[in-house]
């Protein structure tokens, strides 16, 4: 693979993205949503600061709390996924439709340079978008006189990086669909179906089905009935056994739910940004209670799945593109 040729494609793709009306419109929309989230976060922060100053609260609010509404807008409300999918779904399918792919391939370059260049171009454009949005939020903090410490700033950088990987996952998903599907419209539909399956079908329906199949009926109803009639010693013992069963059931149900949530890119993003934006390992007098490694240990499975998705989607896109029939 030639770095020079890869750079030519990546440069063209990045410029195509960032100068397109679609990108500018989506960036404007994202900036507005994130800006509103940041304003809400700033108001909450200032309210909490007032309460701390007046002695109503013993917790010093952190500027990191302002980032939570921002990551919610990007992750939970789906604006990040929208911008990433919008950039990726017609990258290959669109070139097939306009027949520019064959023209491009007739010049001296390898197929893998095209798919890699497109991926780099898209991720660079998304990085530019997210950097612009985070810079906007940071500027709003400074305008309001909220200056994060170096430690808080480094956590913001980690959240920024996680956000880029989150967008890259969605982008890689759309790119994969773009390679698999014959047309842009089919690629968009395929992307949305896969996203629905991963974000909703597996974690919600899949979890309910698995819990019902593996664990059977929830002992909760039986406990209610037994409690209602429980007045003998024998019933008390039975009730205790049921309550043990309930605890065991809840643990297993929680484990199933946690495992199937790992399939959701958005859930993993929320879990990872949550741990850095609302640190349960918050510092006391500037000293973190938990080390960075200890924090990573708490979210290692989310992190693993979170990093697995972009690699998996891009891997499939790469293989399919290399084998694509050009006739």
């Amino acid at each position: 693979m030639g770095v020079h040729r890869l750079a030519i494609i990546a440069r063209k793709e990045t410029l195509d993205h960032i100068t397109s009306k679609k990108f500018l419109l989506l960036l404007l929309m994202l900036s507005i949503v994130v800006g509103i989230g940041a304003i809400n976060g700033i108001n909450d922060y200032q309210g909490n600061l007032e309460r701390y100053k007046s002695g109503d609260s013993s917790n010093i609010p952190s500027p990191l709390s302002i980032i939570s509404p921002v990551t919610e807008a990007i992750g939970y409300y789906g604006f990040g996924a929208i911008i990433a999918i919008a950039l990726g779904f017609d990258l290959v399918a669109g070139e097939k439709e306009t027949r520019s792919l064959r023209s491009l391939l007739s010049h001296p370059l390898y197929r893998d340079e095209i798919i890699n260049g497109k991926a780099i171009g898209g991720i660079l454009a998304l990085t530019i978008a997210i950097t612009a949005v985070f810079t906007l939020v940071f500027a709003m903090l400074l305008i309001q006189g909220i200056v994060p410490s170096l430690y808080e700033f480094s956590l913001m950088l980690i959240i920024w990086l996680i956000t880029i990987v989150f967008l890259a996952s969605n982008f890689a998903l759309a790119l994969m669909a773009s390679v698999i599907a014959g047309t842009s419209s089919n690629a968009l539909i395929l992307t949305l179906i896969i996203l629905f399956v991963l974000s909703f079908f597996i974690p919600v329906f899949g979890a309910k089905f698995t819990v019902n199949t593996m664990l059977g009926d929830n002992p909760r109803d039986e406990i209610t009935i037994v409690r209602y009639y429980a007045n003998s010693e024998e019933n008390e013992e039975y009730l205790e056994r049921l309550e043990d069963k309930q605890r065991d059931y809840n643990q297993k149900e929680s484990a199933i739910n946690d495992f199937l949530s790992l399939f959701s890119i958005q859930s993993n993003y929320s879990a990872l940004t949550g741990v850095f934006a609302k640190p349960p390992w918050d510092c006391i007098d500037g000293t973190p209670i938990l080390s960075f490694n200890e924090v990573i240990n708490k979210v290692w499975s989310e992190l693993l799945f979170f990093l697995l998705y972009p690699s998996l989607f891009f891997g499939i896109a790469y293989v399919k593109f290399m084998r694509m029939d050009l006739r």
């Binding site: 040729r5 195509d16 306009t98 520019s100 023209s103 007739s106 010049h107 001296p108 370059l109 006739r327």
Partner: protein, 302 residues
């Protein structure tokens, strides 16, 4: 300049190109014909290094295309059928993007692109390619095929979307680049076009090369396969005598005009029978079936 040896491509066990052996010399303008699904496009994709053959080799200017596709692409210019470009960019920007892959300096690119846009008469067009007509797109396609000043130019249906003026312009360009000693490989359904610009022809049918040679040689091969007779037309101001010859298949005649169907040229032999009206003969000529007629006859039958 172009040579294939047992070039074969199979898709899911189905042989699309079957042991194709082609030899095209330097400076030749070669026409590649065949009915739909004959394997022409697949052959072109293998020649241009876009797909790998299942078996056999193809060499362009001594370069094994499958082993060295980038090197081969540097000496090939290719105009795909229904060529496409980036609609958000101008013609010049599209060409500049493609030219970057050849490592041409910015000044060199500018000069070459300006020259090519002038050649295809798109030099004054400033709109983005999204607003181009199909003919303009095709002309830009020809320009992009010539970007690297290639030794071998492969054109797939080059005149498909051109108006008569565009076709005439295309012929002029082909002659110009042929005069420069380039080897040109044209794949087309427009047989009259092929006959006008090509010196040699090859016909592909069901993945196999069924005829190859000069235009006349291929016409002869097809005529033999098609069994369409030639016609000798005789017109005279005097009434024509009775004509007889063992090779005459059929005669359609009036008093002063005869159309004689034959399998070979017998004008010399029958001219003796026309002695008595020799001073009244207006014309006597041989009409051979056209390439298109022969092609249709042979491949309709298949």
């Amino acid at each position: 300049m172009i040579r294939t040896e047992n070039l074969t491509k199979e898709y899911n066990g189905n042989c699309v190109v079957d042991h194709l052996n082609l030899e095209i010399k330097e400076g030749e303008v070669f026409g590649f014909l065949g009915p739909n699904g004959a394997g022409k496009s697949t052959t072109i994709l293998m020649l241009t290094g876009m797909i790998e053959p299942t078996e056999g080799i193809c060499m362009i200017d001594g370069i094994d295309v499958a082993r060295n596709p980038l090197k081969a692409k540097e000496v090939i210019g290719y105009l795909p059928e229904d060529v496409g470009f980036y609609g958000n960019m101008t013609g010049k920007q599209n060409l500049d993007y493609f030219a970057r892959f050849y490592g041409i300096s910015p000044d060199g690119r500018e000069e070459r692109i300006d020259h090519l846009l002038e050649l295809v008469r798109l030099d004054s067009v400033t709109q983005t390619v999204g607003g181009y007509s199909r003919g303009m797109n095709q002309r830009l396609g020809l320009a992009q095929a010539l970007l690297n000043d290639p030794e071998v130019v492969i054109l797939d249906e080059p005149t498909a979307n051109l108006d008569p003026e565009g076709v005439a312009q295309f012929r002029k360009i082909i002659r110009k680049i042929s005069d420069e000693g380039k080897t040109i490989f044209i794949c087309s359904h427009i047989l009259s076009e092929i006959k006008q610009v090509c010196k040699t022809l090859g016909i592909l049918s069901q993945g196999k090369l069924v005829a190859q040679g000069t235009t006349e040689e291929v016409e002869e091969q097809l005529r033999e396969q098609s069994n369409i007779p030639m016609k000798i037309i005789i017109e005279s101001i005097k009434p024509l005598p009775e004509l007889s010859h063992p090779d005459i298949l059929e005669i359609t005649r009036t008093e002063n005009r005869a159309e004689i169907s034959v399998n070979r040229d017998i004008r010399r032999e029958i001219s003796g029978q026309l002695q008595e009206v020799s001073d009244g003969i207006i014309e006597m000529h041989l009409e051979k079936p056209g390439l298109e007629e022969l092609f249709l006859k042979v491949y309709r039958r298949e």
